[in-house]
């Protein structure tokens, strides 16, 4: 399984954390599409704590963290 952790406004209607069968996705971008998150709404994408991009591969046991842009002042 792949663990997906949502942060801030990305939690709306998705919750904080969910699991996805590893065989159903191959990249972080696949996860964004699965959860209907446009790429421009993700500011920080971490795979196992490391800064990553949607095209990066994901595998069984990975933890994906998704943060939206926070930019008001």
């Amino acid at each position: 399984m792949i663990e997906v952790r949502f942060f801030a406004t990305l939690r709306t209607d998705r919750g904080k954390i969910t699991q996805v069968p590893a065989e159903e996705v191959s990249t972080a971008g696949d996860l964004l599409r699965r959860f209907e998150i446009p790429a421009e709404e993700v500011a920080i994408l971490l795979i196992n704590g490391f800064h990553s991009k949607p095209e990066d591969a994901v595998k069984d046991g990975d933890v994906i963290s998704l943060f939206p842009p926070v930019g008001g002042g």
Binding site: F7, A8, T9, R11, K16, A39, E40, E41, V42, A43, I44, L46, H51, F67, P68, P69, V70, G71, G72, G73
Partner: protein, 221 residues
């Protein structure tokens, strides 16, 4: 020791209070974050605050911006900050700058400052400010808010944290903000700034992300 700073003692040493009185900080923006940053820096007792904002108050600011009131609608945010500074702590040298931070003026605005506090509301201006800070060798204390969320970081010159947290193509779709989010974020920024200016140990390049809805504080990088 000036009596007005007596309650700083115990949390800060007398020497640290004296050091703060020698420091100059630049606050970029006098809106939601900036108003609270200025208030906290005034009461903390830094020596000089330069604060820039080219905007005027409008009705939609009233839910969260400390310096806004029905009496200040239509007035300069920077000038309102100057009035507040003179009221709260006239011993602080306060320099209001009724201008937005731009590519053209950023270097001049931050010249000679010991720290730059980011209270901006858009990514483009933050990139300009971060580049100017790197070129001037001045640390920048980032802060940003959205809805129930706040984030803060100390960005040392040369660190590309702003580019990593706002990658190309990312867009700010929500302008939501609540009354308690800006002061929470400002508190994180001023705490980090105090540690920086007094020379206390500090982890730089780390992004602190607060979620006030779920009461979580996460640190990244």
């Amino acid at each position: 020791m000036d009596e007005r700073y007596i309650r700083n003692l115990g949390a800060l040493t007398e020497r640290e209070c004296i050091v703060l009185r020698t420091k100059t900080v630049f606050v970029a923006g006098c809106g939601g974050l900036g108003g609270y940053l200025i208030e906290m820096l005034l009461r903390l007792g830094v020596g000089t605050i330069c604060a820039a904002d080219g905007d005027v108050f409008e009705t939609s600011n009233l839910n969260r911006q400390l310096l806004s009131s029905p009496l200040t609608l239509g007035r300069s945010k920077a000038e309102a900050a100057a009035i507040r500074a003179a009221t709260v702590n006239p011993d602080v040298h306060f320099v209001p700058i009724p201008q937005f931070v731009t590519e053209e003026n950023a270097a001049e605005l931050i010249r000679g400052c010991d720290a730059v506090l980011d209270a901006l509301d858009n990514i483009q201006a933050r990139r300009i400010l971060a580049r100017a800070c790197t070129q001037a060798d001045i640390p920048m204390i980032h802060g940003a808010i959205c809805a129930w969320n706040a984030q803060a970081a100390v960005i040392m010159p040369g660190d590309d944290l702003i580019d990593r947290i706002y990658p190309e193509g990312v867009s700010l779709n929500s302008k939501a903000s609540l009354s308690f989010t800006p002061p929470f974020c400002a508190a994180m920024q001023v705490a980090l700034c105090t540690r920086l200016l007094t020379g206390r140990p500090l982890e730089t390049g780390r992004l602190y992300v607060a979620d006030l809805l779920d009461m979580e504080l996460t640190s990244l990088f």
